[in-house]
Amino acid sequence: MHSIRISQASSFWRDGIACFAVEASTCSMKQAQARVIRTAMLSCPTVAMSAALEFREISVVADSGRRLLDGVSLAIEKGSVTAIIGRSGSGKTTLLRSANRMIEPSGGQVLIAGAIERDLVALRRKMGYVIQETGLFPHFTIERNVGIVLEAEGRSRAQRVNRVRELLKLVGLDAESFAHRYPHQLSGGQRQRVGLARALANEPDILLMDEPFGALDPLTRAEMQDMLRELLARVETTVLLVTHDLDEALYLADRIVLLSDGKIIVNVQRDEFLRTDHPEIVSYAAAFHRGDTRASSPKAGSA
């Protein structure tokens, strides 16, 4: 079974899904086969009927001709948090940005809840977007920044004001004192909270986060991670989180995907991650906590 090549495995898998959808009763054999193969091979894409977001054979070629992503397939279960880790240049951000087509893949498909959304604006409104620089609009108050997507959708002012209040509370900011301030009057951590509130404004099915806390000091980062974890327990959002911080990935994610040179090297549950003896994981884990003599394993504490 181990000798079956990935391409074969994934075609098994696709057949399984296709006929599962059409005639559920007749394909149990193939499905079972596919499941065996899947568990046997770490790098095989996860299959779940409840995939909120699915990348199928995504390839991205840079203008220079370099392959940034090379046939990446990944299914992200509804309501789960998936962390993508990897070196700089491994294709993490490219994968995230191909989800909302900020990057147009040269091959492959992105499915949202099993369907392809061709309307770019509609697609992007289904996905919250949080980045390291937050990208808050400097000429808008915090209230307007958080409500901008609702404004763009044409919701009434009263609706927006109420929702913004809820959202600010959700990310741990006092609506009274923050609503009418401007981004430049806030600290880095506060801005990041506002960025998160904005991303959640229209209750998107999917939340894309690209190094959201990468620019914050360790203490603020830990606070933000706690806040995010609490918040994600309360909302039904599927999260794709790009990070190079292994601790953050282990703390927040249900599933960890390791990318290298535009390919998925490892795709496992969090608990499995440190148990596997995959050389890439071992070297990645070893690179963390090098100076911390008190911690014997990178799993010990994340703040």
């Binding site: 609009f137 400097p138 763009a152």
Partner: protein, 216 residues
């Protein structure tokens, strides 16, 4: 300037000042209506930026007296001196507005543009909610430069009979009467100062606080 001079020319100065304002105002409206959309379009197709800005630049280098002369023989324009003046002034006003609109939008932090697209704003929403407000202070700076220049150049329009405060200046030069020259030049200078101040206020009013950055 004696009281007698003012009582003799006061009403004429007022009429000519209004005429001057009308010529410049009309030209500025046309110029803004052409140049702001042109500047926006250039940000969408930047390969045209160089040639278009080049052409408006050349327009500005034409000596104003020559520009009025060139336009004189044109069929519809030549019939009315005011038309010539407005077209010529519009041509002079284009460059600062096009250039500042283009540079103002291009100069916006690319992260903000990216976020505007990523959160699902349509192209129109991005332009009107994000790009134009963020570039507004630049655009007003362009309008300000153009307006001040045009108020000055509009005095030359009297040479083709378009009226305006230049008429007093030309008459004063011809009759070697410095009081007449001043009667044209001082109100023109005041107009320019007032326009400069007012548009400067707008420019500051739309200034956006330093773009945020999480890196300190």
């Amino acid at each position: 300037m004696s009281a007698r001079f003012l009582s003799q020319y006061g009403s004429e100065i007022t009429t000519l000042t209004m005429e001057h304002l009308w010529l410049t105002g009309a030209a500025m409206l046309f110029a803004a209506a052409l140049a702001i959309p042109a500047g926006i379009w250039l940000t969408r197709s930047p390969r045209w930026a160089k040639p278009v800005i080049g052409v408006t630049n050349v327009l500005q280098t034409i000596p104003s007296l020559a520009m009025f002369g060139f336009l004189l023989p044109l069929p519809w324009l030549g019939e009315r001196a005011a038309r010539i003046a407005i077209v010529a002034l519009t041509a002079y006003a284009l460059l600062p507005i096009v250039r500042n609109t283009y540079a103002g939008i291009r100069g916006i932090d690319p992260t903000l543009i990216e976020v505007a697209r990523a959160i699902g704003l349509t192209d129109r929403q991005r332009l009107f909610k994000i790009e134009l407000p963020l570039a507004a202070s630049f655009i007003f700076a362009g309008l300000r430069t153009s307006t001040v220049t045009c108020i000055g150049i509009a005095t030359i329009a009297a040479a083709v009979g378009a009226g305006g405060l230049g008429e007093l200046i030309f008459r004063g030069v011809a009759s070697v009467d410095n009081r007449l020259v001043l009667a044209g030049a001082v109100p023109a200078a005041l107009l320019a100062l007032v326009a400069d101040g007012a548009l400067g206020l707008m420019e500051r009013r739309f200034k956006v606080p330093a773009t945020e950055s999480t890196r300190t």
